[in-house]
């Protein structure tokens, strides 16, 4: 409950995301930040076990196949990492604006726009050598996705439009643009059953990390997460962003240019998701079509919240969630669960993690050593 009832408007940050003590402590030395999300995760796994037991499935089988499908074999590990790659990048799309107190949930839209921009770049640059094409695709994807989320940030800053709603509306607009382009102007007439654009060309496909089936997007995801972490916690810019996220009045008093922070952070956030879209085209699909809207953007929101908006913690959480996604196929085949069971589990985890926010600061023995 609000303490300052009666004051007409009392903004403490740009958004209203309530932040349990602080995101600012990094991941070291804070037992609470590991134990409580882990408890929430275990709790939701138990809940999901009960849920499938209601449908006559054995929960122990469920856990076994989930482990098998996610981390049991080298094959499933690779499947997990392939899925983790876009999740890291789309999670950054939520985690970076969260430093400013903004709740952006439009990563899916930035991913689609980034994928479309990257595909367009590749299609007009067919004459160029592959490395140039790939660089152009990455640049186009990042700029496309970046501008898409920057639009939400600009609307927030200049017009006071709620960024959560605007970014989600932009997802549906991006989806409509994707459908329009792949079924209309950009359609490859040879794609009959599944309307798609022309292929970007086999030579322009980004290969896998040597010795694996995992594409390079995973490595670039980790690089992006580490860079984001450094930006947020070890630069003046990141410090300014966190000040503005903590108290916007204080930020203005000390002369920070909040608008610039909002626009740049939102651009970087969208660029990360756009890069995810670029890799989905350049390393997985080879063309743009409706397959791109696979829900990575939405799962990325969950990754960001489970990682408590810490860019470095996003990496292991994305691998975990990638694992859950990867096990979906095995659950379908062996247990006959619908493919939506992954969505149910993700939803349960999300709800439990948010509900567990209430536990912070209650258990003295979990207080971080550094506090």
């Amino acid at each position: 409950m609000k303490a300052d009832v009666g004051a007409p408007v009392a903004p403490t940050g740009l958004g209203q995301i309530v932040r349990a003590p602080s995101y600012g402590r990094g991941i070291g030395g804070a037992g609470e930040y590991i134990v409580i999300p882990a408890l929430a995760l275990v709790g939701s796994l138990v809940l999901f076990g009960i849920f499938v037991a209601l449908f006559g499935k054995n929960p122990l089988d469920l856990y076994f196949y989930m482990y098998q499908g996610a981390f049991g074999t080298w094959f499933s590990w690779q499947n997990t990492l392939i899925r983790a790659a876009p999740l890291i990048l789309t999670a950054l799309c939520t985690a970076l604006p969260a430093q400013l107190g903004m709740v952006i949930i439009g990563g899916e839209g930035a991913l689609l726009v980034g994928a479309l921009a990257a595909t367009s770049a590749a299609l007009v640059m067919q004459w160029a050598p592959p490395i140039v094409v790939d660089l152009a695709m990455a640049a186009a994807g990042m700029i496309g996705g970046g501008l898409w989320i920057m639009l939400s940030g600009a609307l927030r800053h200049y017009r006071g439009v709620n960024e959560t709603i605007s970014s989600l509306l932009l997802v549906y607009i991006a989806l409509a643009i994707l459908n329009f382009l792949v079924e209309g102007p950009m359609r490859d007439p040879a794609s009959l059953n599944k309307p798609s654009t022309h292929s970007i060309g086999a030579a322009n496909m980004i290969g896998n990390i040597p010795g694996t089936e995992v594409h390079w997007g995973f490595v670039f995801g980790i690089i992006a997460a580490v860079l984001s972490y450094i930006l947020v916690y070890h630069t003046v810019f990141g410090f300014a962003a966190r000040v503005a996220g903590g108290n916007i009045r204080a930020a203005k008093v000390v002369g920070l240019s909040v608008g610039k922070l909002v626009l740049i952070i939102c651009f970087l956030a969208g660029a990360a998701a756009g890069l995810a879209g670029m890799f989905e085209v350049a390393a997985v699909q080879g063309r743009a079509n409706a397959n791109l809207a696979a829900g990575y953007g939405f799962a990325g929101i969950l990754v960001a919240f489970l990682a408590r908006q810490n860019p470095l913690a996003v990496i292991p959480v994305a691998i975990l969630l990638g694992g859950i996604g990867a096990s979906g196929g095995l659950l379908q085949r062996r247990l006959g669960l619908p493919d939506a069971s992954v969505l149910v589990l993700q939803g349960m985890i999300f709800v439990m993690v948010l509900a567990s926010d209430t536990l912070y600061g209650r258990w003295g023995f979990l207080k971080g050593k550094t506090s």
């Binding site: 709740v103 017009r159 709620n162 959560t164 989600l168 932009l170 549906y172 409509a176 939803g347 948010l354």
Partner: protein, 309 residues
Amino acid sequence: MAGPGDIGLWTIPVAVLGGAVRVSTPFLFVSLGECVTERSGRINLGLEGTLVMGAMAGYGVSYLTGSPWLGVLAAGVTGAAMGALHAVICGLPRVNDIAVGIALMLFGVGLAFYLGKPLIEPSAAQLPSIDLGWWTDIPQLHAALRINALFLIGVALAPVLVWALRSTRWGLIIRTAGESADAALAMGYSVNIIRLRATMFGGFLAGIGGSFLSLYYPGSWNEGLSSGQGITAVALVIFARWNPLLCLAASILFGGAAALGPALQSVGYSHGYHLFNAAPYILTLLIMIATCSPKRTLIGAPAELSITR
């Protein structure tokens, strides 16, 4: 082409009108419910999930019992349960209602797809429509005037809610909780209980809105049934200024925007069909840009509401 049924380009406005009435109903129910929830000082962004759950539950119950109205009731009860879940979690200290709404949106959609898997094939009993176009012999106009009873209920509900919020004891309590939690507390009311009831009411109406999707228009259950109607309706409440009557007007406007694409397609203009599908979202965004301001809180906004502060 000339014949008794040929009304030329008039087809488009008539089809848009008929479409507006059809398409606006889910918007109307979700926004009326959310209006009450937000007046109590809490925002439920999870109504997208509630809508899909309601559509699934309504379809399932209608299929099993053969009674579409039982389906509508089941959809409402399911929605109220989703609302209760939202309210209980948000009632915990230090839990953010916006984030919980996002989580419940994903959870509700996932759960509905999971439970609704067996419902994709069978066809359930549909809601009947009331024929208000018996006086005309123009088939397009006649079709446009076939109106579902739920729409009429929604239209009647809007002024009732305006009156209830303004003039009844419960309306006053809800508005008090929305304007100042401390004042409600001082009056001896539990803010959490008030908001629980308001959120359950909002979920109930959103569930009914969902049942309209599966039981009338488009009238089947599949995973592509709702594409953002729930969240659009939440945005709609903001520029309807938390006034149920304006929610009604805005819903019809939105229904018209959403019906534009199919109306143009019906006269053979299908170019850019997908872009017309984006019309309601673009319209929402434009209206939010036009009506929001960074300098002041919105007129009519409940002071306790986190999204407008």
